[in-house]
Symmetry: C2
Subunit: 220 residues, 2 copies
């Protein structure tokens, strides 16, 4: 995770990982109400996190992929307040939080890294709030696609092609839209020649057009 550590420090970081755990597609890594013990670094696979309101509606709060950390919600009350569900078979590193705190006291780089991870999540959520609070359907979906493909590209995948690991309903929940609206908006993008969509396989034909939908300044 952090870089620029001594060999000794790196050895100690290994101590953080108590175990690896495999999660089958469709099952939960943790669930709302469960006792919080650990953070989880995703090694492989793809997750969604979601919170539920009292009356059953639920909201997807994010999609996480390899290299990202889930479980931060549990720290505050010693219990998780959301579900983390694997959208494909996955493997995670289990990092007991007391070990993280213990080692953070001795390895400054780790301490700062933990703070940055939490801060990054806060900033990410600010972006989602902006999306949910002020964007129209097309902007939301365009933002979503650009964000996904950018994260995948950072992991060595294509800049223009991606496979959605989630259903239209899950995308809709995340974006504050109904699944029909997600589907319709995809169709509109296809009509306009911006993307090709074949079920969950998406190919972005015109990245600039997507960026223009998100931020229509160049067009004016």
């Amino acid at each position: 995770m952090p870089v620029g550590l001594s060999k000794e420090e790196l050895d100690r970081i290994d101590y953080l990982v108590a175990a690896r755990r495999k999660i089958k597609r469709g099952t939960t890594l943790f669930r709302n109400g469960e006792k919080f013990t650990s953070l989880y670094a995703i090694r492989t696979g793809f997750f969604k996190t979601c919170v539920a309101s009292e009356d059953g509606r639920d909201q997807v709060t994010g999609f996480q992929m390899a290299g990202e950390v889930v479980g931060l919600d549990g720290i505050v009350n010693d219990h998780h307040t959301c579900d983390a569900v694997a959208l494909e078979d996955a493997e995670v590193c289990v990092m007991p939080f007391d070990r993280i705190e213990e080692l953070s006291r001795e390895v400054n780089a780790l301490q700062h890294h933990v703070h940055k991870i939490m801060s990054r999540e806060i900033v990410r959520e600010h972006g989602v709030m902006l999306l949910l609070g002020s964007m129209r359907a097309e902007e939301r979906l365009a933002t979503f696609l650009l964000n996904l493909v950018q994260r995948l590209h950072a992991r060595g995948f294509s800049q223009s092609e991606l496979i959605l690991r989630m259903t239209r309903e899950e995308i809709g929940s995340f974006l504050g839209l109904k699944l029909e609206t997600v589907s319709r908006t995809f169709s509109r993008f296809v009509e306009e020649g911006i993307v090709e969509v074949k079920q969950r396989h998406v190919r972005i034909l015109n990245t600039d057009a997507l960026k223009d939908i998100v931020n229509p300044k160049a067009g004016c």
Copy 2:
């Protein structure tokens, strides 16, 4: 902040506060793009934090009052990514973040406290995402009022009366609504006898009715 500390530890916590700073109403504590140096504990007053999209629209991400901490967004990139604006004359404790990290290594309770504050912010934002993603106007405003009054009550204020420190537009921005919709929804609550509203002064007449709007299970 944390409780159950030794006298010596408490003395050291004082060291965290490099200064106090007074912020006049309408001015910013920090602004998007500014260098991040410190977290700020609000002593008195009331703030909003807001992020801006490229094309000018902005989204209020939260309202903060005495005892709450702002500035967490800056840790990730060493620069702030949102504005913190005082909605009334305010005073904050300036806590340089390097001192926080330094002392966190030695005072376990402080370390854990910092982690909890960040986790709490993440969980709070999950709640906002649920609101923005799936609630209708009445539910949003009811949730907002209940949340505000609950936090004020925890600080010794009334359970049923509050003074809004923000405009209708700011409420709307936070809730993902236009100011007219906020105003109309207030009016509807008044018609139904749920609240009294005189400009920014709000008196809650029927808390249960508000709760019922948020979570309409009791009514079915």
